[in-house]
Symmetry: C2
Subunit: 146 residues, 2 copies
């Protein structure tokens, strides 16, 4: 999944977070290890960067679901581009910086132009952050020219 | 405002975003220039990093408001620490990457333990993102040992 140069998921953005999203059944999953400098307080991950990886993982999952619904491979042109319209995040407990973070996104609603997903972010088996994202397909592709 | 090593606002985090928040009357303001690699699509800022700077700016504003309500200087110990409980973001239009971004946060509700803020992020005079944040003061300071 993903766009090559996106700061969140782009494999060719050397300054980016380079998250990788995969299907596990009907869930989009992602495992990501924060860097030591991604902290807010000692030992605790900055909430903003958690919002960033949740946002990007939800977009990647929604795009993959759109390709899946169209019975197309993700590498097959034309590109399906989607963007976030709404992101609602609940920070339930501090997220430890020294652990692998596990994201799981589930599609709740899917039409050709819109997807609503829920996403959890867990560490050490505990859900630290819960989110809902509304992802939409713009009429003009923002990826034109990439 | 801010904590020295926080990835969002820490002046001593060389890998961080180093946002700076100030009072302008009763509004917390912040001006930030994205780097070229902070894109989602060509010319458009990644929504996740926008969530990150909004989150950190709202926390900084809430902490500054708490010091102000206590008639204390921000540098005066003991530290007042606050964390995000809820963040709701509406992406209204694409945010251009080549422009200065202007954030304005307003306190809507303030008690000793909780603050609710609205925040806008604008470029070229147009609001691109609108957000609401619920910021809380944990009973045990996450900054212990900083």
């Amino acid at each position: 999944m993903g766009v090559h140069r996106c700061w969140g998921c782009g494999s060719q953005n050397e300054h980016g977070l380079q998250i990788k999203s995969y299907w596990e059944g009907d869930e989009g999953v992602c495992v990501w290890r924060p860097q030591p400098y991604h902290h807010a307080w000692p030992g605790i991950v900055n909430g903003g960067i958690l919002a960033a990886i949740i946002d990007c993982h939800c977009i990647c999952t929604a795009i993959a679901a759109a390709y899946r619904a169209a019975h197309r491979e993700i590498t097959e042109p034309p590109l399906i581009a989607m963007v976030t319209a709404e992101l609602r995040i609940s920070y339930l407990r501090p997220t430890p910086i020294a652990e692998l973070l596990h994201l799981r996104a589930m599609m709740c609603e899917q039409t050709e132009r819109k997807a609503i997903l829920t996403c959890t972010l867990s560490a050490l088996g505990e859900v630290c952050v819960r989110a809902e994202a509304v992802i939409v397909r713009p009429r003009a592709s923002p990826g034109a020219g990439m």
